[in-house]
Structure formats: C-alpha cells, structure tokens
C-alpha cells in the first residue's frame, strides 16, 4: 500500500492525459467518469494509508526514492516522503477532489467543454497530490507551479468572458510573485546545504552552521514564507483570491478553499525545521498570519458577493493556520488545516448549489431560500457552526488548539485572534441569514430556486458529517498529536539530527503528552480560554442576528453610513488592489521606457551610431577629397580620357591587327635577346 503511494498522484495525471487526448468532447461526454473513478480509487488508497497511520500499523515516516537526473556532482531523486500530515493531506485532497468531481458532474453538465473541465481538475489533483507526497523540494516546487497552471486554466475556464480571462492572469502572476520567493529560497538552500531532499535537508539544517548558518536559515525561511504567502493568499498577496472566484464554483471549493491555498501552509509545515532554526522567520510567519486573518475577516464583513465572503473567510482562516505555525503550534495549525478543508469545501459547494439555483452571486438578491433548499440550508448551517467554532463541531476543537497555542506565545496576539474569531462568526452568520432567512428579496429568482440534484447534495451531506465529527475524532483519540506531532523540537548538534526521524515515530507512540511537549505545545491552557472563545462566538452570532436575521437591514445601513470611510476602506480591500494595479502600471511604463532606450539609445547610438561616425568621417574625408585629392582625380580622369581617345583608334576590330601587335611585341623581345648575345 505505502509502496505504491506514488500511484496516487500518477493515476490522476494519467487520467488527465487520457481525457485530453481520448474521447469526444461535448456537453454529454462520458469520459469524466474515468476521472471520477480514478479519484475514487485514490480516495480508497489514501483512506487505507490514513487508517494505517492512525492505528500505527504503518511505520511513519515512510520514504522511498529513485534517481531522477544528475548535474555536476549532485544527484536529484524522485521520491515520496509520507509522514502524518502527508497522510492526512492525501486523504483530505482525494476526498474533497472526489466529492467535488461527483458534484461537478451535475454542476457542469451541459457545458460544451465538459470533458476538458475534468481533465483540468484531474491534472490539478495530480499536482496537488504530487506536492503532498514528494520528498524533494524541487519536485515540490514543480508541483507547486503546475498547480498554479491548473488553477490558471480552471479560473479561466470560461475564458470567453473577460472577467475570468483577467482573473486567471491576475491569479497566476500574483502567485508567481510569491513563487519567486520560493525560487530564491531554493537557491539559498541549495547554495548552503547542497541538497533538495527533505530528509537529508533536515539533517543538515540540524547540523547548524556547518551547512546552514543562522542568517542563511533566516533568509531561506523568509523566502519560502514569501512563496507560501503567494499561494495561500496571505497579506500582502491576498488580492488574487477574491478575483479567482470567477472560476466555476466547485473549482473554488477544491482549489481556493480546501487544497491549493493550503499548500502554502503545508510547505511551511514541511520545511518547519528551517523555521525552527530561525526565530526571526518564525515570528514573520506568525505576524503575517495574524495580519492576514484580521484584514481578511474585516473585508468579509462588508462584501455582498456570497463567494467573495467565503474567499475572504478562506484567507482569514489560512491566516489563522499561519499564525498557529508561527507561534509554534505546529499540530494546531495542521489540525485546523484539516478541519477547515472539510467545512470550507462544504461552504463553497453549498454556495455553488445556491448559485446553481438562483443564478446570482449577490446575497442582496437572495433571502428566504431555506424553504426551497432545505438540504443546502442544513449543511451550510452546520459548516457555519463549524467555522465559527460552535462547541463540539470540528472547528471548535481546531480553533481552540490554535488559540491555545497563540495564547502561550503572546496574549496580545491571542486577543487579536479572538477578535477575528468574533468577526468570523459575525460574517458567516450574516451570510447564512441573508441567503436563507427572511423574506425573498428578488421574487423572480426565488421563484426559480429549487433544491439541487442528488449528485450535488450527497457530497454536501458527506462533508457535513465530517465537519461535525472530524474534530472530535481527531482530538478524542489523540490523533492530532499522533499524526501532527512534530518529529522533534529544535535539535542542536549532528548526533541528534540523525535520530530526528526516529524520534518522530517514538514520540507519536508515547502518546499525546510526550508529543505535546515535543511540539512545544502548552500542556494545559488557562481556564478562561474556552469561555472567552465561546463568548466571542456568542457576540458575533448575536450581532449578526440582530442586524440581518429579520431581513430588514435598516440598522446595518445606518451603521454603514456612520462609519462610511471605514466601510469604503474595507470595500476597496484596503486599496491593495489599487496598489498592485499601480505596480503593474509602473512596470508597464518601465517596460516602455526600456524599449524606448533600446530602440533609441542602444540601437541608435551604439549601433547605428557607428554608421553616423562613419558618415562623419566620410564628410571630413570628402572635404579633403574636394580640395586635394579631387584635383588629382580630375587630372587622372583627363589623362585617361585623352589616352582613351588615342587608344580608341587602335581598337579596330581587326583580329589580325591584334595578332600583329602580339607578334610585334614578341619580336621586340626576340630582338632584345638577339642583341644581348
């Protein structure tokens, strides 16, 4: 099973290639079932791997590799490295992808590029799975970029519309900015540590200055973080995610909620040992996470587009995970990553169901849908409770873990995070209330509204079940520490490093307490943490109920008018979009300037300038010519003309005369020879 783990990314890839080249394209193509079936198989495999990881049947981490290529003295290998987080991510990705594909069969049915859609989705899933399992940072980066491309293709799936066409480019370029950080980070790592293999890298980093001195570790950590910031839509590169909602909604659920955006978090987690070696980089992770969580949540407060609210919420929750990782809550961050994937995918698929039904994204045109779409309403409410941290839902456990870790690091940060949690509760319930409760505001749309087909609602139900109970299962059976426990804390000295991998296994077996310690996770939280979180939840829910549940928004409008500038700031997304547009414009101007320089200075002066100099020289020479040389030339011309006139008479056209000249010339020589004797 683990031996064949490489098949999990490869089979979807094969499915994608097959879908591209085989079968007939069309709204009723049967080929997508191949993709769904493949993903089903992958889901079974990853469930088996996760199960054996949870029960301890599989000895983790599992590593295997084969040679890839060589340059100079350095070998590169293609390999897999499965540890607890990887096993969990495999399960999450395959599950969400499978459900989303089932859902998409109904959602995308009738699209003229039905088959191609599934090819793209398969390709995306393959690269995401590749990223999850790879043991080589170079392969991770490759999959990272391929994900970027598939995201580009999927956001721009309806490319005939200008919106998606623009959004896909924006998403790709913005994440590419982050990728440069990843790229640089890899350069730094390789220049110092000389390897991309994660296991070997971990050992070398642990050896400290011999390989990766502190400043290099900081630089590498910050660069990798920058990469993660781009992919996970963290501050300041979060601008692409709201626009990415132009893509089909299931795609948003898969890529922009559950998987791809989580890749940044996963990358930081995978290279956590570098951050452990550099406190500065660690702090940067925490601060980025906190700022993102807060800003995104605040922007979600004022948005009316149902998908944008969810997008901001995703950004905010990802910030939470970053924050958790940054404060040392490794397992908490990954825990939240897992639970978030379930309920956020559910939210997006639910939103997709709503959009599918009313053909609008604007929450102001909805309202009162609970009667028509009971399953969607129920499942989305469950997800909302989970994201808000309602007791004993999955989000409750993971959020508690995050907040606990943050509090242990810095109470001030905890307070900010708590405030963000309250905002989260507020805007999520605002979404539910505006969409499902109250009176229908647009009756025509409401009239057409209907419950989605079973292919769409069944995935919702599955995800709802997981949203409810995954947190409890993981927490109750000690699986959080078992799967997400850190292999070891910051290890100094080479002898420790060699054992780091084994220590991971040992720590996991020793149970939660030992692992808690190893992860730097506080063994116990102060007693007021849970009540504080609950009151934040209650406050958010209460305000939201007061303002939005009735369907009468007068109070909300009044508040909006009172705090006008603040609302404008939030609606304009803190002017970050404008700032980046300014940058784009600037680079365009720079490009134009460069080209002007190229055409008018480099080419003109350096190249055609040679011609100019030549012409100048020619002018000078011309002057000399006219005065001195020309006289001579004219004279010679006169002479030759006169000579020509004379010689002309010689050219008679008489062959025999010519012959005679020759013979005479010969005779002259002969006479000379005769007289010389």
């Amino acid at each position: 099973m683990l031996e064949h783990v490489y098949l999990i990314p490869l089979l979807p890839l094969a499915a994608a290639v097959t879908l591209v080249f085989l079968g007939k394209e069309g709204p009723h193509s049967k080929m997508p079932f191949l993709s769904v079936a493949t993903m089903g198989w992958c889901l079974l495999q990853s469930s088996a791997i996760l199960w054996s990881a949870m029960t301890g049947a599989a000895h983790l981490p599992y590593a295997a590799s084969m040679p890839w290529f060589e340059f100079g003295e350095y070998p590169m290998s293609l390999g897999v490295l499965i540890d607890g987080p990887a096993a969990m991510m495999l399960f999450v990705v395959t599950l969400v992808s499978f459900l989303m594909q089932v859902y998409s069969i109904a959602y995308m049915h009738g699209d003229p590029r039905f088959k191609r859609y599934f090819a793209y989705v398969s390709f995306f899933t393959a690269s995401m799975l590749g990223l999850v399992v790879s043991s080589n940072l170079l392969v991770v980066f490759s999959c990272w970029e391929l994900m970027g491309v598939s995201s580009y293709l999927l956001i721009g799936f309806w490319f005939e519309k200008p919106g998606p066409a623009y959004a896909s480019k924006k998403a790709f370029i913005t994440t590419k900015v982050g990728d440069l950080g990843f790229y640089l980070g890899m350069l730094i790592i390789f220049a110092y540590a000389g390897t991309f293999d994660l296991t070997m890298l971990r050992e070398r980093v642990a050896m400290g200055a011999a390989y990766l001195p502190a400043h290099a570790a900081t630089a590498a950590g910050l660069c990798l973080l920058f990469g993660a910031v781009g992919k996970s839509a963290q501050w300041p590169l979060f601008i692409w995610l709201p626009d990415a909602m132009e893509g089909p909604t299931p795609v948003s659920a898969l890529i922009h909620a559950a998987t791809m955006v989580a890749a940044g978090i996963y990358l930081v987690a995978r290279t956590y040992f570098i951050y452990q070696a550099s406190p500065l980089a660690m702090d940067a992770v925490a601060w980025i996470g906190l700022v993102t969580a807060f800003m995104a949540a605040s922007m979600a407060l004022v948005s009316y587009d149902i998908k944008r609210v969810l997008a901001f919420s995703t950004v905010s929750q990802l910030g939470y995970m970053m924050l958790a990782l940054g404060v040392g809550g490794y397992s908490a961050g990954l825990f939240h990553l897992t639970t978030h994937a379930f309920f956020k995918a559910l939210l997006f698929l639910g939103a997709g169901s709503v959009i599918h039904s009313v053909h609008s994204n604007d929450m102001r045109e909805m309202g009162g849908l609970s009667k028509k779409m009971i399953v969607t309403f129920a499942t989305m409410t469950i997800a909302t409770l989970a994201i808000a941290g309602f007791p004993f839902s999955s989000g409750y456990y993971s959020k508690e873990a995050v907040l606990g870790a943050v509090y242990a690091h810095s109470p001030a940060m905890w307070a900010a995070a708590l405030f963000t949690a309250a905002m989260t509760t507020f805007y999520m319930f605002r979404l539910i209330f505006m969409t499902f409760l109250g009176e229908a505001r647009d009756h025509e749309k409401e009239h057409h509204a209907h419950e989605s087909p079973a292919l769409m609602t069944i995935p919702l139900c599955v995800l709802a079940v997981l949203s409810v109970c995954s947190g409890w299962i993981l927490e109750h059976f000690g699986l959080v520490e078992h799967l997400f426990g850190l292999p070891s804390a910051v290890v100094h000295g080479a002898e420790h490093a060699a054992k780091a991998v084994e220590a991971a296994g040992a720590a996991a077996e020793h149970g939660a307490a030992a692992a808690n310690h190893a992860a730097g996770h506080p063994a116990s939280h102060p007693a007021f943490l849970v009540p504080a979180a609950l009151s934040a939840f209650a406050a958010g829910l209460g305000i939201s109920w007061k303002l939005y549940a009735s369907g009468d928004f007068t109070t909300a409008t009044k508040i909006k008018q009172t705090f006008g500038p603040v609302f404008t700031l939030l609606e304009k997304r803190y002017y970050f979009d404008d700032f980046f547009l300014f940058l784009v414009d600037l680079s365009d101007r720079l490009a134009a300037a460069c080209f002007w320089v190229d055409a008018n200075i480099v080419d003109r002066i350096f190249v055609d300038g040679w011609g100019l100099v030549t012409i100048l020289l020619a002018e000078i020479e011309n002057f000399i010519d006219a005065v001195f040389v020309d006289g001579l030339v004219d004279a010679s011309g006169w002479v030759s003309r006169q000579a020509g006139a004379g010689l002309r008479t010689l050219v008679t056209g008489q062959v025999q005369e010519y012959l005679l000249y020759v013979a005479l010339a010969v005779s002259v020589f002969i006479i000379q020879m005769l007289t010389m004797r």
Binding site: W68, F69, E70, F71, G72, E73, Y74, L138, F141, S142, C143, E145, L146, V149, Y152, G156, F159, E160, K161, P162, P164, A165, Y166, S168, K169, F172, I173, K176, V177, L180, Y183, L184, M186, L187, I188, F190, A191, S587, D588, L590, A591, A592, C594, F595, D598, V602, D603, F606, V607
Partner: protein, 491 residues
C-alpha cells in the same frame, strides 16, 4: 562508420547541389530532395548519439586529415558532450523548419538551396575542432542567412539583412584577429583547438584578457549579449518564419557554444577576469530583455526579445563557473532552441492566416482554434519556465549555478522570470481569451503539415522537462571534466 561527422555535415550540401540540378518549377522534387537530405542528416546524428560513449568526456568520432599542411591547418572534426546536443538540435530544427518551409512559394529553389547551405555551416561550427575550419564554417552561415532574410523577409528585409550581416561580420573580424593571434603565439603554430586548450598556462593574463575581448565580441554579438542585441529583434521580425526558427534555435547557440568551447577552455584567465562583468550583462539581458519584450505588441518581436531574456539565463549559468551552471547553460540552449523554435513556428502559423502579428488585433481564438491554442499554451508555459517542461530545467540550473558565485545579481535576475510570465500571459489573454473577435470567425486551425512541424518540438519539450536525464547525462561528464581541469584557475 568512421566518417560519420563528415557525412552529417555534408549530406545537406549534397542535397543543396542536387537541388541546383532540378528545374525550378518542380517544387515537389525540390521539397523531397531537401527533406530527404535533412532527414538523412538527422538520422545520422541520431546514429552518432548511439555511437557516442556517454561516460567519456573525450572527443569522440574524431576525424583528422591534413588540409593545408603548410599552415598547419587540419580537417579536424570531433564531438563531445558539449557539441553533440547542439548537433542534434541543429539537425532536428533544420528538418522541422524545412517541413514548415514547404509553404514558401516564392523562388523555392533558391530558398531551399540556401537553407541547406546554412545547415552545413551550422553543423560545421559545432563539429570542427580546428580554428581555421571553425572560422570558415562560422562565416559560411552568414551568406545564406543574408539571402534568406534579404529575399524572403518582411517589409524592411534589406535593411535587416544588411544590419545582421554587417553586425555579425564586425564581430567575427575580431574573432579572426583572435584566432590569428593564437596561431602565431603557439609554438609550433597550430589552429587545433584541442592543442590550444593545453597552452593557456604559458600565456600571460593580459594577453588572455586581450584575446578574450576579441573573441567575446564575436560571440556576444551572436548570443546576443547586451548591448550587442539590437540586430536580433529586427532580423527576427523581418526574417521568414523558418529562418527565425533557425536564427533563434541554432545561430544564437553558436555564441554560447563559442563562449564555452573557446573563451572558457582556451582563455581561462580572460574568462575569469570577465566574470564580474558577465554577471551584470546576464542580469541586464534577463531583466531588460524581458521588460523590452513586455513593451511589444508584435508577437514575433516579443518572442525575439524573449530570446534576449532566455539567452541571458545562459550567460548567467556561464558566469557561475560551476558544473551546475554549465549544465544549465547547455540545457537552456537546447531548451531554448526547442521552445523558441516552436514559438516562432506558431507565430508564423497565425501570421500565415491573419497576415498580422499584432496581439491586440486578435481575441478569443481559444475556442476557435483548439489545437493551436493548446500547442501555443504549452510552448508559452515552457518558455516562461514552467516545471515539467524543458525550459525550467535549464533555467533553474543556471540560477542554481550562478547563485553559488554571485548572490546579489542572481537574486535580482529572478525578477526576469516574473516579467516573462507577465508578458506571455498577457499575450495569451489578448490573443486567445475573451470574446471572439468576429473578424477572425473564419480562421482555420493548424494543418497537418504545421502540426507535424511543431508537435515534435512540443513533445521533446515535455519529455526533457519531465525526464531531463538523457540530455544531462550526455553533457555532464564533459562539463565535469571542463570544470575540474580548470578548477585551480577559478578557485
């Protein structure tokens, strides 16, 4: 076969002579002869690949015969891990662009004749181990190129052809001086490159620097390195499609190959002296080239400037003077040949149909031309360095190699990747995405001939991107040997 290299090099010449003997109306016969000659040359180069011992760094398949004994000029051919990839690239690209050239209708006979002569020159440069021979072949490429641009080119073809010719001739004159200086310095006088490689310890640094500059002028113009790059956009834009392919795919590589083969191996001290300048030039090439490309609306000119950017990666890899960087540089040359070759072909395809290359004149072709869009997208992504496609491997290794020596400028050069992505994606958005411009509602997708020309390049791009081992294994021993033998100099 002991004369394999001679055969590879001169089979196209026989083809060219055979074409001369065919009446000019019989275009089918001309096509057939040209294609067969190019195909034989390609197959023979594959045969050479088969006979090549990948583990060895020595010159292989060597042929040596006295040519002008009184001057010590030899007919000396041989290939190693450096030149074999270039030879394969040349034969493949020639075949592909000849397939594409079947659409040329004007003065077919001359066109094919010159094209095959050009092939001879290019192959000769890569296989000759004697400076005299090297120079002869080097100059031999100029004349056909001049005619190909000047006769079959675009509106400003005459100006472009003359500029190209004079500019490159200017460079090679200095190269000739350098060659002569090497000849007269060596005792006994020799033109043999492999002999000259052993002589550098006896030469003073100032001598090597002087000669390096002379050679550099010749090579940098070909590469083209800033500020000698301005002939390139002009020549590319004016040249017919297939010629652009050869120009970008092979002729630019002659510069990079020369820098590795001559400047580095024969004049190491000069090369070392130049490194700090080279890294700056590489940086300028990458970022400035990319920015210039971003300012273009003509697709072909954009691709031309992207060549400046891509060859900047090569220079970056060279500046690192590590096995990694050199591997990257050669790999990048191969990848750039494949990718940019395909890009030029694809731009040519759309130009043949629409008679314009202005990006903003198009729009929404994605749904209308699915095959074209797919091939273009893959190629564009390869060009902007997407992992899993050939462009990435070379580019990344170049960065990796250079970063070990020059941290700041290498890190700054990374910006070039971003700009490249930006202008390529903007092109895709303008041409393929968005609503269909009704003006092009009757555009046809690619014909079989065009697909056959482009598809091998795309397939190779994917193959070498996923599995770069065959290419890297070929060059790695040679490059390791090059690095190790001069390790003391570059310490």
């Amino acid at each position: 076969m002991t004369n394999l290299l001679t055969l590879i090099t001169f089979v196209p010449l026989f083809g060219a002579l055979a074409i001369l003997a065919v009446p000019k109306e019989k275009t089918k016969a001309i096509h057939a002869i040209g294609l067969i000659a190019a195909a034989i040359s390609f197959v023979l180069s594959l045969l050479a690949l088969g006979q090549f011992d990948k583990a060895s760094s020595a010159m292989q398949l060597v042929e040596k015969a006295a040519w002008i004994p009184s001057f010590g000029v030899n007919y000396h051919l041989g290939i190693d891990g450096l030149s074999l990839p270039m030879v394969l690239l040349t034969t493949l690209l020639t075949l592909v662009s000849l397939i594409f050239s079947m659409s040329v209708e004007n003065r077919v006979k001359e066109y094919w004749f010159w094209f095959l002569v050009l092939d001879v020159g290019m192959l000769g440069v890569f296989v000759s181990l004697d400076f005299f021979l090297f120079y002869v072949f080097w100059e031999l490429t100029l004349v056909p190129m001049y005619f190909l641009i000047g006769i079959w080119g675009g509106p400003k073809k005459e100006f472009a052809a003359i500029k190209f010719f004079l500019y490159t001739l200017f460079g090679s004159v200095f190269m000739l001086l350098g060659i002569l200086a090497l000849y007269f310095t060596s005792t006994p006088h020799t033109f043999d490159i492999t002999e000259l490689m052993k002589l550098h310890p006896g030469w003073s640094e100032s001598f090597q620097i002087t000669l390096f500059i002379a050679f550099y002028l010749g090579f940098a113009i070909k590469v083209p390195a800033f500020p000698f790059h301005t002939w390139l956009p002009l020549a590319h834009v004016e040249a017919p499609t297939a010629v652009s392919v050869i120009l970008a795919g092979v002729l630019l590589k002659m510069g990079g190959y020369g820098l590795l083969r001559v400047s580095y191996s024969v004049l190491p001290l000069g090369f070392k002296w130049f490194l700090p300048i080279l890294i700056v030039i590489a940086f300028i090439n990458i970022v400035y080239g990319a920015l210039c490309a971003m300012a273009q609306t003509d697709m072909k000119k954009m691709v031309a400037y992207s060549s400046v950017n891509h060859m900047g990666y090569c220079l970056l890899g060279l500046a690192g003077v590590t096995a990694t960087g050199f591997n990257g540089a050669v790999m990048q040359m191969v990848a750039h040949g494949l990718v940019t070759g395909a890009l030029f072909l694809l731009v040519g395809v759309i130009y043949d149909r629409a008679h314009t290359r202005d990006m903003s004149a198009f729009g929404g072709l994605g749904a209308k031309l699915p095959i074209y869009t797919a091939l273009m997208t893959v190629t564009v992504f390869a060009s902007l360095g997407l992992p899993g496609l050939a462009g990435f491997v070379g580019e990344f290794l170049c960065f990796l190699g250079a970063f070990q020596r020059f941290k700041l400028f290498t890190a700054l050069s990374v910006l070039g990747i971003l700009v490249t992505a930006a202008f390529f994606l903007r092109m895709i958005q303008k041409v393929f995405l968005g609503p269909l411009n009704q003006k092009w509602a009757n555009l046809e997708d690619m014909s079989w001939r065009e697909i056959i020309a482009v598809a091998p390049l795309t397939a190779l791009t994917v193959y070498l991107g996923v599995w770069p081992r065959p290419a890297l294994d070929l060059m790695n021993p040679t490059i390791n040997n090059m690095i190790q033998s001069l390790a003391a100099v570059f310490k």
